[in-house]
């Protein structure tokens, strides 16, 4: 939904009682100074587990034979105590985060979290327990605790868990296809890159710059009483920065954040391959599956300076041409969250809210979420994406499915204990827990707008616009608790007049209503313009869990959208 400073939330995924009983380390947060990240996260990022030396992150994985043996201990212990279903997740979660400003390295965090989470159904009720004592004894005790909790909660249960069947998949392996493991890249090489990014930004007019690298590796082993033993190795990467230009005489400052995308890739994302660059008007560049961080920092510094004197936007209706690096967040907020079934049902009512995309609208099979051009898919299999895995955290093989087909709402995002409400027999496979000690629940898969079928570049699209604004990058964002009314800013705004990009604009934000907005979608560029945007720390639940998710799209045009001027004097 969003991330507030407490990044609040944990799971409530079912109509049934689910108890999260944890004996564990408390979650810690790192305060951030970077403005762009601050704006997004409420100034902190979560860190799981203990701080360790960098080399410890390369310790060999626990071998699958040992993990299977330990998992069987949990499955047997739970069954002996009366569980009718059990899943066990043995997880090693690793993070390396680097923080710099100008010529200084501010912080390097290496953290590792290792333990086991056991979820059971007993007497028709969920129970969950977790422990960092990954021994035969520790695991057996934890499994017993999970069953005891389930039985205790069964007394106040209204109706039993209705779990969609899932055939065991046997012993399988899935790894994020990476070319260069980011954890094997020497820290010095990473520092050198960030120092280069910072110095190039300063050389090109930045007053200040902060830059970061975030690396995540989840080594997850899942086993269930359905007969699945799933070993997965998942990698994610996010390079980012914020450049600030200051004019002290005028008493003004402007920032420009990186237009990178967090990815489900290794360090190769930072190769900056020319073949992955997508040209746009005014020398602008979009990055597909390879990012040139130094080049982007140079452009950012120049553009931040240009923003200081950019023309303030006259409020009114404009045709918007939205770059994928901007549109991704609009998709996330206005399509991704409202189609989460647990939200629709009311499980998030006290925090993130509910949804306008109610079951009665879906049942009509004619609810026009958007124009006929709008096809939005949910998917856990798209290469290079953050939400992409082989199997979800309840052992369901991942797939792709439609959420919006030819503009009509056709489905939601649902997991094993809720998918039955939709009349489906199989989970969509979008269950996730952010750590071994968090209980898994419904989380957003990658949600993407399909590209247009006819050949169309961003140059062609702009040629057709008389009065419009071209918007790039993720800026300020806000949406109501049922996902009707939203307001989005961006990083870069250019005026379009009679088919040409003219000058840079400032103080731009657009406001719309989700259904109205998606119905004003009139043109989508083709697959050659398609790329992903991502959210690395998406928050949901009370207490909080994070997840990472990608949103693909090509540049898209929306007609007659209300633009406000956000300039003020204080």
């Amino acid at each position: 939904m969003c991330c507030r400073h407490r990044l609040a939330y944990l799971a409530t995924t079912s109509q049934q009682t689910k108890t999260n009983h944890i004996i564990m380390n408390r979650r810690d947060f790192i305060q951030l100074s970077g403005m762009g990240i601050g704006a997004m996260l409420g100034a902190s990022v979560p860190v799981l587990g203990n701080i360790v030396p960098a080399e410890a992150l390369l310790d060999p994985k626990i071998d699958p034979v040992t993990k299977k043996r330990l998992a069987d201990v949990a499955l047997n212990a739970a069954k002996a105590r009366g569980a009718t279903y059990t899943d066990v997740r043995i997880g090693r979660y690793m993070q390396q985060y680097l923080f710099t400003r100008e010529t200084k390295v501010q912080n390097i965090v290496n953290a590792e979290s290792y333990g086991v989470g056991i979820r059971v159904i007993a007497n028709g009720t969920w129970g969950f327990a977790a422990t960092s004592d990954v021994t035969t004894q520790g695991i057996a005790k934890c499994a017993e605790t999970a069953v005891a909790i389930a039985k205790a909660n069964a007394k106040i249960q209204k109706e039993p868990v209705n779990l969609a069947p899932q055939k065991g998949v046997g012993e399988v392996v899935w790894n994020t296809p990476i070319k260069r493991n980011a954890f094997e890249v020497p820290v010095q090489e990473k520092i050198d890159l960030l120092m280069k990014v910072n110095s190039e930004a300063m050389k090109n007019g930045a007053g200040f710059v902060t830059s970061n690298l975030f690396f995540v590796n989840e080594q997850k082993y899942f086993a269930s009483s359905d007969g699945s033993y799933i070993d997965q190795d998942i990698h994610r990467i996010w390079p980012t920065f914020t450049v600030t230009a200051v004019d002290k005489q005028a008493g003004k400052f402007k920032t420009r954040d990186a237009i990178s995308s967090p990815m489900g890739m290794g360090y190769e994302y930072l190769d900056g391959l020319a073949s992955e660059k997508i040209a746009a008007p005014n020398g602008l560049v979009g990055y597909r599956n390879s990012y040139d961080m130094v080049e982007d920092a140079i452009m950012a510094a120049k553009q931040a300076k240009e923003k200081l004197t950019a023309k303030t936007v006259p409020a009114g209706k404009y045709d918007l041409v939205l770059d994928p690096n901007h549109l991704g967040l609009t998709i996330h907020e206005s399509v991704g969250h409202p189609t989460e079934l647990d939200r629709v049902l009311g499980y998030e009512a006290n925090y993130a809210g509910t949804s306008f995309a109610t079951l009665d609208k879906w049942q009509t099979k004619a609810f026009n979420y958007g124009s006929k051009l709008v096809n939005i898919v949910a998917d856990k299999t798209q290469p290079h994406c953050l939400g992409t895995v082989g199997y979800d955290d309840e052992g369901v093989p991942c797939k792709e499915w439609n959420l919006i087909k030819d503009g009509v709402l056709v489905n939601y995002q649902a997991i094993r204990d809720q998918v039955g409400i939709l009349g489906e027999k199989e989970s969509h496979g979008c269950c996730y827990a952010d750590n071994w000690n968090s209980v898994q629940f419904q989380r957003m898969p990658n949600v993407s707008l399909q590209p247009g079928k006819e050949k169309l570049s961003v140059f062609d699209m702009i040629k057709g616009v008389e009065k419009g604004i071209y918007i790039i990058g993720r800026g300020s964002y806000s949406i109501d608790q049922q996902r009707y009314n939203f307001q989005f800013g961006g990083q870069l705004f250019y005026e379009i007049k009679n088919g040409e990009l003219t000058s840079m604009l400032d103080d731009v934000a657009y406001q719309s209503n989700t259904q109205e907005f998606w119905n004003s979608c009139v043109q989508i560029c083709d697959k050659d313009d398609y790329r992903t945007f991502g959210s690395f720390f998406d928050g949901k639940g009370q207490p909080s869990q994070v997840s990472a998710v990608s949103h693909g799209s090509a540049t898209t045009r929306f007609n007659g959208v209300n633009v406000i001027n956000t300039g003020r004097k204080i």
Binding site: T17, F208, T566
Partner: protein
């Protein structure tokens, strides 16, 4: 080992850790506690649990290089291993040119932040608290979703220069959203305390229930500038966001709402209505805070805004040293002085206006002017001739707390919200820029 260590137990462990040090400087922080929660939705409990934590972080320093390692085992061998690990990490770390030598011994206040009643909370207490909130809703065909979280903990710090500090604390946070069965009405209640005996989940829920029922059938008003009465749950986020932007370095660097045209900062300038006074006091009985900040600086009574004039900014130790000023840390909570009127009195004294229960999804739009956007939620009402007339549809706002605190009409009695004391505020010309259909 107990999870809540006494001052003496904590000091013993910290001294032991420091005795293993071979580094130039070493600091240790030891914290532990228990956090419990219960969550419910659709009138039924959905999640509940307890977690325990006791962990130690050691930071070793060589010159301007520092390294941190953490551990949650406390035998001598583990402690020594952690010290060695922190030392290894420090030796490999890049130099931090902004490193400040550790503080020597400090004098800390004894803040009244711990309450035995909160420390005694058990799963049964939480279940009852949830039941007292759920049950009245179920009886009235309303749907409750709520969350209660309580923490009992301690925090101890020490270093190789003889600094030692210890604090024990408790807290409880409760919030509930009540919706009508048809989904056309929604109300909200929220409370936080150190002392759980002040919490009545039933009474808080009853306010949310009233708001849910009264907000059915909302009418649409035109967006525009309105006089508003902001309940503390509405104004708190904007005020907290402003207080978080009181950093002197950003202001000096020209990238803050406190930076001045032509250079310089607005410290000492009158920036708000003269009735605006904001201070912090860790000894305040309503919002007792920690006696020290994360880096060991003492928390004291500090006036941030006095009669509309900016009196103090927050400093890192590095920046304060560079500027030759006292290194005032950011406070844990703040107090905004108000008036003596109740919320009901404020409504009575309003010719035309809008009562706002809370704001939602607040995000920065322009850091230069502290412009924020967000929406009203869970109970927005039109006031005419001193009375609540009818519920209205939710609005999106675009407003700056700086402008808001200049358009001050009246203030009520301060109430605790989010660890702060904030009065209900009556503000003229508050900018609502569009309507939302959300309930």
């Amino acid at each position: 080992m107990a999870i809540i260590l006494s001052k003496e137990e904590a000091k013993k462990i910290i001294d032991k850790v420091l005795s293993f040090s071979k580094a130039d400087e070493m600091s240790v922080s030891l914290s532990g506690g228990r956090t419990g929660n219960i969550r419910y939705a659709r009138n039924s409990v959905s999640t509940s649990g307890e977690s325990y934590n006791l962990s130690l972080a050691v930071t070793a320093v060589y010159g301007k290089r520092s390294g941190t390692a953490t551990i949650n085992e406390f035998d001598e061998q583990s402690l020594e291993k952690t010290v060695r690990r922190a030392e290894e990490i420090a030796k490999l770390a890049p130099e931090n040119p902004e490193y400040m030598p550790l503080l020597g011994p400090q004098k800390y206040l004894e803040t009244p932040s711990f309450n035995e009643s909160t420390a005694k909370i058990d799963p049964e207490f939480r279940a009852n608290a949830a039941f007292n909130s759920l049950d009245p809703c179920a009886k009235k065909n309303l749907t409750a979703a709520g969350y209660l979280e309580d923490t009992t903990g301690f925090s101890a710090i020490g270093n190789s220069k003889g600094l030692f500090g210890y604090n024990k604390y408790t807290s409880v946070d409760f919030s509930v959203t009540v919706r009508t069965a048809d989904g056309t009405g929604s109300g909200y209640g929220i409370k936080d305390f150190n002392d759980v005996s002040k919490l009545n989940t039933k009474a808080t829920t009853e306010i949310a229930m009233q708001k849910a029922m009264a907000s059915m059938g909302a009418k649409a008003l035109e967006p525009g500038k309105y006089t508003v009465i902001l309940e503390p749950a509405a104004s708190i986020d904007l005020l907290q966001n402003m207080m978080r932007n009181m950093d002197a370095r950003n202001a000096d660097e020209g990238r803050s709402f406190l930076s001045k045209k032509g250079g310089g900062i607005r410290l000492g300038e009158k920036l708000f209505d003269e009735r605006v006074t904001i201070y912090s006091d860790p000894m305040n009985g309503e919002i007792p805070g920690s006696p020290f900040s994360g880096d060991g600086r003492p928390q004291e009574n500090i006036t941030w805004v006095d009669k509309g004039v900016v009196k103090n900014l927050t400093y890192s130790r590095y920046w304060a040293d560079k500027k030759g000023v006292p290194a005032t840390p950011p406070p844990s909570g703040f107090i905004m002085l108000g008036g003596t009127e109740s919320l009901a009195d404020l409504i009575k004294g309003t010719e035309k206006g809008i009562l706002v229960t809370r704001f939602w999804y607040i995000r920065s739009v322009d850091p230069q002017t502290l412009l924020y956007t967000g929406l009203t939620r869970d109970g927005t009402f039109y006031i005419e001739k001193g009375q609540i007339k009818y519920p209205i549809k939710n609005f999106r706002f675009n407003e700056s707390p700086v402008i808001m605190l200049n358009n001050l009409e009246a203030m009520g009695t301060p109430m605790r919200i989010g660890g702060c004391l904030v009065p209900p505020l009556k503000i003229r010309d508050f900018t609502f820029s569009s309507l939302s259909d959300a309930v």
